[in-house]
Amino acid sequence: MIRRFHKDDSAQVSFLALAASLVLVGLMAMIINTSDVVRHRIHNQEVADVTALAAATWSARGLNTISMLNILNAKLLSMTVIVNAASRTMPVVRGVHGVQTGIAAACTPFCTPWSILLQAQGIIIEPIDAGVRAMEPITRNCSGAAWSVMRGLQTASEAVRQTFGRIGYLEAPAIAARNGASSAFAVEGSLLEIAGSNLTEAGALPVSTQDRTPADFCTAMKSGGPGFVMQGYTEGEGPAEHGRGIWSDLDPISVFNPALATLGAPWIFDGFYSSEMTRLGCDGSTPEKEGQKVEFNSLPQCREHDVTATWNYYQDETDWILDGSLTLNDFVAWTPQDVDLQGGGGAIENAAAAVGADIDGAVPVVHTPTGRGVSELTGQRKVRSRGASCAGGGRSGYPIVERAMGSDIIFVGLRSHPDYTHFEIGESGLHRRATSVRSEVTGTYFLRVERDEREVAVEGEGTRSEYKYSLDAWVLVDAGEKVLEGEELTEYYEEQSGTADSGPVDSGGSCGSFPVPHLLVDEADDKLRYFAVVNHGLGEANQPPRPFWSNYFSVSPTRFTSFSQAQVYNDLSTDMFTQDWRVRLERATLLEAALQRAGDLGLGSIASTASSVITTVNNH
């Protein structure tokens, strides 16, 4: 048998072919392995790049959003300045126009051309004045529409600040996972600092309103900047200057065209404009808002700020009437006749108008007399004004009034006086007995009614009874005023924004510490960098057992790790009024810096060694 095999010599080449085949199969395995490893490495690096960019993009988007909101607030603030200046200008202009018209009329017929010009000017002034008066409620007071919008925009900026960075942290590993990574993370540069990192702010964008004031809008409002040029403004001109130019420049496009120059309109406007900007603090002076006089409109506020409320005491009476059945309730909806209802604080109508007011204009409250008695009243007179200190706690703020106790006269707080009944103005504008918290706002009042009776002889009928009602009324006309500043002022306005009882607190171009821009914090550089690490491969728990040849040959890698770094930048202008934040990849310096810092801090020789190694291999 063996002989038969040995006689067969045709198989000599087969061993060589078999060996060659084995070699070629081995080579094929090598090539497959090479292309597989290379493909995974390239893909893993790409995923790391995309992960870092995803985290950075959210940051850039958030910064662009906040920039847009800052720009809008700057525009709105500019608008309040312009409107307030215009609303103060127009009465003066009308006055000047009126005087000139009178003079022109007096010197007729010599002044006829002038009269014609004045008539033309009157035609121009009318719509301007109407437009200004239409806009004025929007910017007036701190509860006008413009201020509400600015408050909303600032709140929105804060929401963006807190959420966008965190969303980026969530999305980055999600993107990596969707591209096939086993695990990934992206972290902003400041968190890689070994010491001094503020973990509570992790994920928040590097902007803040801390130590900022409305005056931080001034440069943007006056000079604009690259961000405003992007929006179409002329270079060097911000929205406030743009508006001022339209109003006061002596060119045909100006609202005050040259024809009105004789009225002094442009210069008058300029003066008020400067005044409004000064009020904001835009001329470098200390802004008036630091120490803002605030008029309170409720006794709780009076007590909180320890001021003095003012009550007016009125007396009113009917004539002798035949109806003897009137009671106190018949005199509800009594109103004082001497209190200023336009602006200022404390008027009943204003307080009522603030209730459920629509920003398109206050709805006047109609006081419907609920009783017959009110219409009989004839002789209202204000007797006195009295202050009431709110320093005494929960029941303070009410005046001390006389009370008859037998033959004695004692003094009690109005609220405790049994003869007086407390009334308030409800949300609907109807008067009612005091039942709610509204009972301590301005406009609330206490009534006391007394009835006198007499017998009167009537011819042919004998006698008849006649009655006369006397009414005493105490009205809360204002809850005190105080100059607030700083934190106190901020807290006050924050309270006002949430309550329905807020009343007008100021008129003019500023509302205390509001609005303020979100600006970049110091040392924001590292916070605008994101470092991402991506792993691809089997987890530790799922590693296959090492093959038997692993002692002699290297086992193929089952894990690939890649890193990447992205930067958020604004090449046009690194400020929060330029809406051009972008992202790009950059060299991964954060890891080196972090390890270097660890080494400097003496956190171990490993950190220093790793740092030097990283410096050598970190080439992208």
Binding site: K7, Q12, L16, V38, R41, D571, R582, L585, E586, R587
Partner: protein
């Protein structure tokens, strides 16, 4: 013995003259191959003779012996072409593998360039590359270091092989310089090989022991010498790919993309097949000393985004 070699005093670690060592090594390798072939033939013949059948006519025995001799000759005649073909296939497969590595190296170089070029160092502004000969030229170093790591697996690990391969492509550069007339390539090759060995020893330093470190040092050095990275057709020495010389710095500030090429001199290590492959690509190689290991330039180009800051207007 060349004067150059003597002046540079190259010796093996055992103290032997390097030239003689390499010459003897070459002869030894060639002799081994021949000996294996001869031994195989003789062994086969011996086996055939030993196990031939008993009996049969003398004529048949004589005829049978003749037929066995013919079989052995036939075996040799088939073996040699087959060997050459198989070796060629192996060489091509290794070249394919190398091509994949070079492709990855080009990607690594491009990824590195896309960010490193637009970083700022103390001496190199954003978008500007100093030639590698300049002081504090850091960017080219980083890019070439990124490339080298991808090419280490396909670089020779033994000093001899690396020396012979390096000598071949540096000698080829001598040909291009038209110095063919009076240069002994053998001598230049020795000198180059000697230099390589000295550099390997220098680089390894006190750790000149242990095979791994030797191999790592040799691979690293060979990769440095054999790799050229071109960014937009210009390399770290300031040369342009079309041959025109550019000096000074390279400004890539306004590029939107970077075209990064990597040229790598891959050593054709398979005996005979490597030389045949080289001759197929470069007939002038025939003039080279048989002592040197031929190399082939493998090249790849990758285009990447230039991650520069973009102005809005």
């Amino acid at each position: 013995m060349s004067t150059q070699a003597m002046n540079l005093q190259f010796h093996t670690t055992g103290g032997e003259d390097y030239l003689e060592f390499l010459q003897r090594l070459e002869f030894f390798q060639f002799s081994c191959v021949l000996a294996v072939i001869a031994f195989s033939a003789l062994m086969l013949r011996f086996l055939q003779l030993k196990f031939r059948g008993n009996g049969g006519a003398t004529t048949l025995a004589v005829g049978w012996t003749k037929r066995r001799g013919i079989a052995s000759l036939e075996f040799l005649l088939v073996l040699i072409p087959l060997l050459i073909i198989i070796l060629a296939f192996i060489q091509i497969a290794l070249m394919m593998n190398a091509r994949l590595h070079v492709g990855y190296a080009a990607y690594a170089a491009a990824r590195s360039a896309s960010t490193v070029v637009y970083s700022e160092t103390d001496d190199e502004p954003i978008g500007v590359l100093l030639n590698s000969g300049e002081e504090n030229a850091e960017k080219w170093q980083r890019i070439e270091r990124a490339t080298a790591s991808a090419l280490l697996p396909i670089s020779p690990g033994s000093a001899t092989a690396a020396a012979k391969a390096y000598a071949s492509f540096s000698a080829a550069q001598v040909i291009e310089d038209q110095s063919f007339g009076g240069v002994d390539f053998g001598i230049d090759g020795m000198a180059a090989a000697g230099r390589l060995t000295a550099m390997v020893i220098h680089r390894a330093g006190d750790a000149w022991d242990g095979t791994r470190i030797q191999r790592s040092a040799v691979k690293s050095l060979y990769t440095d010498l054999a790799t050229t990275v071109w960014i937009n057709d210009r390399n770290s020495g300031g040369e342009m790919r079309d041959g025109s010389e550019q000096s000074g710095t390279y400004d890539l500030t306004s590029s939107d993309t970077l075209s990064v090429s990597v040229d790598y001199e891959f050593w054709l290590s398979v005996p005979y097949a490597g030389r045949a492959m080289k001759l197929a690509f470069d007939a002038a190689w025939i003039l080279q000393s048989r002592f040197l290991t031929p190399t082939l330039t493998i090249s790849d180009t990758v285009v990447v985004t230039a991650w520069r800051k973009r102005k809005a207007f």
